[in-house]
Every structure is written in C-alpha cells, then in structure tokens.
C-alpha cells in the first residue's frame, strides 16, 4: 500500500479564517463550480455531444452496471467435467471449512474407480453464506467457483435462498 504524507494545517485559525466570511465564499465557490460544470456537462451530453467526463460519477444501476473485478466473489457455481458430470467428488472439504455452515452435501457412489464419489445433493443456503470464499479455496478439484458475476441474490422466502445442485450446476 502506498501512503500519503498528510500535512496538517495548524490548529490555530488565521485571522482570515476567523472572519469567516472569505471561507464561506470559498466553500460556496466550490459547490457552485461543481453545480455549473456538472450542469453544463449534463446539458452538452443531452444534446448528444460526447464529452470525456460525465456530469455524474454514479451509475444508473439497473440499466447501467459497474464493471466487476474478476476477483470479486459472487454467487457460487459448480463446474462440470467434459461429460457433464459435476467435478465435485463429495470430499466434504468445503462443507467442513465453511464458517457459516451453509453447505449440505450427500455423497453417492460412482462405479468409476478414479472418481468413486459424486454429490447426490449439494445445497448452499445463500441466505446464510457470508461469501468468504473459503469453499473455493478448500476445494481440491476446482469444482466450486464464485465467478458467476451474479450479485442479485434475493427472493421472497428463505427456502428459495437454498440453492440446490441443479441451480448451481446450471451456472
């Protein structure tokens, strides 16, 4: 992390600051400048002229989205093998490491001797999950990831917040 050298003004007010009036005008000048500049930018863009700066730094959320960092932890998904089976081998690592205790796995047996186990059930209760990403770190098979970019995880009931294996596999 870089650090900044902060130079603090002395605690004592100068006489100019004590009169107060010049400082008031200074403040008003800053807000007025923002007002005039932003209003001009809005007006110019409304006319369809492209400008380098925008009048507002905010995003109009549902229509406009901020670019997400690739490292951002978003909703989980289970990855698949080439043949469409989940990569997960039901080793229970993620279930064990999960600090919120929100993963529930039921293992089943596979005839393939290289794999042996697969998850019959794999539920994540996203209403409880704290998005720590430990499950992703713990997984030896790269079977669970948090890279869907889905942030809107809301529902009308607690039951709907429990994501089953089908929903997790379908991305």
């Amino acid at each position: 992390m870089a650090y900044y050298n902060v130079s603090r003004p002395s605690e004592k007010l100068t006489w100019r600051e004590r009169i107060y009036l010049p400082e008031l005008f200074k403040g008003l000048r800053i807000t007025t400048r923002h007002f005039v500049v932003n209003l001009a930018l809005h007006a110019v863009r409304l006319l369809g002229i492209k400008t380098r700066r925008r009048g507002a730094v905010t995003f109009q959320y549902p229509e406009e989205r901020r670019p997400l960092s690739p490292r951002l932890r978003t909703r989980h998904r289970l990855t698949k093998r080439e043949d469409g089976m989940p990569r997960c081998v039901a080793c229970m690592m993620c279930e064990t490491v999960c600090p919120a205790d929100c993963i529930y796995i039921v293992a089943g047996e596979l005839p393939d001797p290289n794999v042996e186990k697969y998850p019959v059930r794999f539920d994540i209760d996203l209403g409880v999950c704290v998005f720590c990403g430990f499950c992703v770190e713990a997984c030896p098979e790269d079977a669970i990831r948090m890279d869907t970019g889905i942030l809107e995880i809301a529902s009308d009931s607690r039951e709907e917040m429990i994501y089953s294996i089908d929903r997790l596999l379908s991305g």
Partner: protein
Amino acid sequence: MAEAGIALIKIAVVLGFVLNLAALLTWAERKQSAVIQDRIGANRASVFGLRLFGLFHIAADALKMLTKEDHVPQTAEKFIHGAAPFISFFFALMGFAVIPFGDVLRVGGREIPLRILDLNIGILFIFAAIALEIYGSVLAGWSSGSHYATLGGMRGSVQMFSYEIAWGVSLLGIFMVYDSLDLNRVVLRQGDLLWGVLPKWGIVTQPLGFLLFLAAGMAITKRVPFDLPEGESEIIGYFVEYSGMKFGLFFLTDFVLTILISALLATLFFGGYQLPYLEPDGFRFPWGATWSLDHYTVVFLQFVALVLKIVFFCWLLLAVRWTYPRFRYDQLMDLGWKVLFPLAVANVILTGLVLTLIE
C-alpha cells in the same frame, strides 16, 4: 364588488406563484444537491415512460404524503398537535401579502396596486407573520408529548431569540436610507440612480445590512446551516411525531419561508421589481439612449424581473444548504448575540452618521 374580485385575483396569483414555486423547490433541492455532489438525483418516477428529469417526483411525493397514515401519538395534545402545522403554514404564507410585485396596473381607467395589501408598515407585518410562524414549530414540539419533539421546539424558540433581534435591527439601515416602512415606497426609491448610473439598490447603500439580513434570514428558514430545530439527520426536531400531510406542511413551510426570504432579499436589497434604467414609460439609459415601451410591457418586465430575482435567491439559499455544515447550538447563539447583533447596531450608527454627513 369589483374591489373584492380584484383582491381575490391578486391573492390567487400570489398564492399560485408561491405554492408552485415551493413545490418546484422540493424538486430543485434534490436535483441541485445531486448536481453539486456529482450525482443524478431523483429520476425514477415516470408517467408513460416519460421521466422529465424527475419532475413527477413532486406529484409522487404529494400522493405519498396524502395517502400515508396520519398518526397522532397517544400522549399528544390532539387539537394543538393538529393545528400546529397549519399555524406554521398559514403565517408563512401571510408574509407574501405585502410583497409588491409591481407598482400599479392601469386597466380601463382603474389603478390597481400590484400587492395584496397596501400597508404603510409592510415590513412590520412580515416581522409579525414570521414571529407567529415560529409558534407553529414550538407548539408542535410541546404538543407532541415526546421529549425529542419538545427539545426540538425549544431549540426552535432559542434560535428565534438569537436571530430575530439581529434580523430586525439589520433592516433599520434600509428604512433610514429609504425613509419608509412601506415596501412599495422602498422599492420605488430603489429605482433612483446614484451618481446618475448606479441604481440605488439596497445592496449598494447597505452592503453590511444585506449580509446580516442574509445570515439571519437563513436562520428563519430553519434549514442547514441553521437547522437546529429540525436536525433531520440525527438530533431530530419538533416534527418527529408528525406523519402524512401534516409533516408535508411543515416541509412545505420551510420552502415557503425560503421563498419569502428570497422575496424580501430581492425587494429590500435588489430593487424588488425594478429593472435598472426602466422607467414607467420605457428604458432610459444614462448614456442618453431611450427605448419607450407601453404600460403593460413595463409591468410585465418588472414582474419577470422580480421573479428572476426571487428564483436566484432561492437557488442561492439551496446552494448554501448543500455547502455548509450545521452550526452548533452555542455557536448559533454566539453568532446571533455576539456577532450579528453588534454588527447590526454598528450598521445603524454608521448609516445614521453617513446620512447626517450627506445632509
């Protein structure tokens, strides 16, 4: 009969102007603060997909407030609790009765003075209205049966003590210079020219009085930086127990007061409806050029001039709200008693000295 009709029309014009502007200000405040803070501001209310820069939020707000439950706390003094917002709103509107929005309109041999009430003590009337307006908030605080509200009301009354005297004294200079308490006379005399070029506006003759009046006037609107009675964001004030349209009335009262202070600033210090060099028969520039206009155009131009001045000051007061932090309680009293009041008295003495010297 005709007199009453004319008076009613004038009242309708003034009320229509003030209330519409107040409603617009609720929108302007949101948008202006947004633009100042690099945001977009409220823009989601739409009619048939038409957003119109969020102008429909005015209607949406009004609808919300009208349909909300009007909750009266059990411990409240029911009657006073209900009456308080109306007292505030009523007296805030009353101030506009004496603001002149033109000199006289001559229609069909009849001379109509363009103000609702032709009082020769106009400004005292406004003082009285504003002093009574504060009762609304104090009563609201007392009658709510809530300590938070009571404290808010008390802060309101202390704030009034701190600035009202300074506010009144800051205007004395104006009345010494223009020699009248009648607002229309004050405005008419501001039409004179100083040294043949400079309009004799209050800002020229009373710059210190203007600053004092502006500072105390902001305290009257009960908005940041003087929003101690309200303290919306954290200390909560006298209207904490109000909901629905009664709260809406208090909310609107603030904006009406903002317009009233703007109108007073325009009237007393910026020539009211006067445009520089505009005489009753047209423009007469100091360099000799003239441009004669008929009576109606002049009256119209003067009205537009006043409206523009009022809108400018509303803008200024809104900008001030989004610039400064709130004063602390003791700082406010310090400011009122130790700074504004002595300065106002000094201003009166100075004005008197200068006036005697000129004579």
